[in-house]
C-alpha cells in the first residue's frame, strides 16, 4: 500500500482524514500515484496538476524520504521505502504568504 499525505485543503475536498492509502501497480512513480489518487478522488483533478498538460501546479511540491521530488520526471521510480509503505509520499502546499 502506498501512503499519501495531502495538504489540509485537499483532505477537505476529498473528504478524508489523515493519510490516504492507495494500491498502485509497479512501477510506482509520481504519475502512477497521482493517476490512482485522482481515480479514487476525482474531486482532486486539477488541484495538484493541470487537467490538460499534467504539469504540477506551481505551489505544489512532492517530497518523500526527506527528498524534494518536485522537479524529477513524473515517471521516476520512487524509493523502495515509498513502494513498500514504510514512508509516505508527501503532497505539500508550498510555503507562500496569503
Amino acid at each position: 500500500m502506498i501512503r499519501v499525505t495531502l495538504p489540509a485543503h485537499l483532505r477537505t475536498l476529498a473528504r478524508v482524514e489523515g493519510e490516504v492509502r492507495l494500491s498502485v501497480s509497479a512501477p510506482v512513480t509520481p504519475q502512477a500515484i497521482l493517476d490512482e489518487l485522482e481515480s479514487r478522488y476525482p474531486m482532486l483533478r486539477g488541484t495538484i496538476r493541470d487537467h490538460v498538460t499534467g504539469r504540477r501546479r506551481a505551489f505544489i511540491r512532492f517530497f518523500a524520504c526527506e527528498r524534494d521530488l518536485s522537479h524529477d520526471p513524473s515517471d521516476t521510480i520512487l524509493p523502495d521505502a515509498v513502494v513498500n509503505g514504510m514512508e509516505p509520499f508527501l503532497i505539500v502546499g508550498a510555503m507562500a504568504g496569503g
Binding site: 485543503h9 475536498l13 485522482e38 476525482p42 483533478r45 495538484i48 487537467h51 507562500a96 496569503g98
Partner: protein, 396 residues
C-alpha cells in the same frame, strides 16, 4: 412571508447572511470553504436553492461548488458524496473545474492568442472563474466568466464546461490584460430574449450576442479612453468595470468604466457619458433599482491609483434620472477616516418593496439598506475583504 439571503464571497471563504422581509436582524453562516478565495456565489433564478460558488487558490487552482439546498451543503458537481467516481460510460467525474479553451480543429493549437504587456502574443491560459451567471430560464445552465477572458457554459449543472469561443474572434488578438488581469467579469442576460446576452471584459470592453453566443459584436462606440489607448475611441481595449440592466428595459444599459459612468439606450450600439456631478467618475460597481428602471447606484472611488473612497467618506451615489444628476447617500455609512474599496461584483439589489441594496467592502463590512439607499446599516462588520455580494429574495 419573504426571506432574504445575501451571498458573500470573500478572500478567505463564503458567508451567507439571512433575514426575514423586514431586513432588520441578520444571521451570519460561514465561513464556507474557509481559507479559499471565493470570487462569486450566485443562486439560480429558476431554483433558488441551487447555488453556485467559484472557489480558487494560488495553490490548488479553481474549484466550482454547487449547493442544491440553499447553501446548507455543498459538493463539486459530478462528484456528490457517496456516488461512484466514474460515470456509467466509464468517464471520470469531478471535471467541474476543467476549463479548457477551444483549439483549432485543424492544427490542435490554441485558437487565437492575445496581446501581452510587451506587445507580444500569448496563448490563452485559464486562471480562475470571476463570475458565475446561472441561466434565467434553466437551472442546469450556468455561464462562467473567466480569466484569461473567455465565456464558458455548462448545461449540466456545472459538471462540464464548454467555451463559447467565437467571442475571442472579436479582435481577441488585440486584447491585453489590465492591472487586475484579463478577466471576463460581467454577464448580463436579457430575460425576455434568451438569445441576447451582454458581457464585459477588463481592458477589452463590452460585447453582445444576439444568437445565444454563436457570434458576438463589440459594443463600445462612444466610450473614450483618453491616455489609456492609442486610439481613445477604439473598437476594443476599453476597461469596462461593470454593466447593469433593468430586466424591464433590456435596451437600456448602464456602465461603470475605468473612468466615466456611461449609458446606452440602444442595446449598446452607442454610449453617452452620464457622470454628471459625481465627485469622481472612477469606480467599480453599478446597479439598478429593482422597481425604478431609471434609478441607478454607483460608488465613486478616488482614482485608478487610489482605490478607496474620496475624502475618507463612504458614499453611495444614486441617480433617479438615469444618470447625470446624482445624490450622495450617507446615512449610516462612515463619513470620516474610511478608506475602503467596493469591487465590481460586490453590490446588488433585492426585489422587495421598498428595494433593498447591499454592498461589501475591502474592509470586510457588508452594508444594507432596506429603503433604496436612504438609510444604511452594517449587516456584518468584520469579514475578510469582500469580493462579491449577491442577494436572493425568497417568497414562502
Amino acid at each position: 412571508m419573504s426571506k432574504v439571503r445575501v451571498l458573500v464571497g470573500t478572500r478567505k471563504g463564503a458567508f451567507i447572511l439571512t433575514s426575514d422581509g423586514s431586513r432588520k436582524t441578520w444571521s451570519v453562516d460561514g465561513p464556507f470553504f474557509g481559507g479559499w478565495e471565493i470570487y462569486h456565489v450566485k443562486g439560480s433564478p429558476r431554483d433558488p436553492d441551487r447555488l453556485y460558488a467559484s472557489q480558487s487558490s494560488s495553490w490548488f487552482g479553481q474549484i466550482v461548488q454547487r449547493s442544491d439546498d440553499g447553501g446548507k451543503t455543498w459538493h463539486q458537481p459530478g462528484t456528490p458524496p457517496g456516488e461512484p467516481t466514474t460515470a456509467p460510460d466509464g468517464s471520470p467525474k469531478g471535471e467541474s473545474n476543467k476549463f479548457v479553451y477551444d483549439v483549432s480543429s485543424e492544427t490542435g493549437t490554441p485558437l487565437t492568442t492575445h496581446q501581452w504587456y510587451d506587445g507580444s502574443q500569448r496563448p490563452w491560459e485559464f486562471k480562475r472563474v470571476w463570475h458565475l451567471e446561472p441561466s434565467v430560464s434553466d437551472p442546469g445552465t450556468v455561464y462562467a466568466g473567466v480569466e484569461d477572458a473567455a465565456l464558458f457554459r455548462s448545461t449540466d449543472g456545472a459538471q462540464t464546461w464548454h467555451e463559447l469561443s467565437s467571442l475571442r474572434s472579436v479582435k481577441g488578438t488585440l486584447w491585453q490584460p489590465g492591472a487586475g488581469g484579463m478577466c471576463l467579469h460581467t454577464i448580463v442576460q436579457d430575460a425576455g430574449n434568451p438569445h441576447r446576452m451582454f458581457i464585459a471584459i477588463s481592458a477589452a470592453g463590452a460585447f453582445r450576442t444576439d444568437d445565444g453566443g454563436k457570434t458576438w459584436t463589440a459594443i463600445n462606440r462612444g466610450l473614450k479612453s483618453q491616455y489609456e489607448l492609442p486610439d481613445p475611441s477604439a473598437d476594443v481595449g476599453h476597461c469596462v468595470h461593470r454593466i447593469a440592466m433593468h430586466p424591464s428595459r433590456p435596451h437600456v444599459l448602464f456602465m461603470q468604466k475605468h473612468w466615466d459612468v456611461m449609458r446606452s439606450d440602444d442595446g449598446g450600439e452607442s454610449w453617452q457619458e452620464v457622470s454628471g456631478n459625481l465627485p469622481t467618475d472612477f469606480g467599480f460597481p453599478i446597479d439598478v433599482h429593482a422597481h425604478e428602471p431609471n434609478t441607478i447606484y454607483v460608488v465613486p472611488i478616488t482614482s485608478d491609483s487610489e482605490h478607496y473612497v474620496p475624502e475618507g467618506k463612504l458614499r453611495v451615489y444614486r441617480s433617479r434620472t438615469g444618470g447625470n444628476e446624482w445624490e450622495a447617500l450617507t446615512r449610516g455609512l462612515p463619513q470620516r477616516d474610511c478608506y475602503v474599496n467596493i469591487l465590481r461584483d460586490a453590490m446588488t439589489v433585492d426585489s422587495l418593496d421598498p428595494c433593498g441594496i447591499y454592498f461589501g467592502t475591502s474592509g470586510g463590512q457588508v452594508y444594507g439598506s432596506a429603503d433604496a439607499g436612504d438609510h444604511w446599516t452594517p449587516l456584518v462588520r468584520d469579514l475578510p475583504p469582500v469580493l462579491s455580494v449577491e442577494v436572493q429574495t425568497l417568497r414562502s
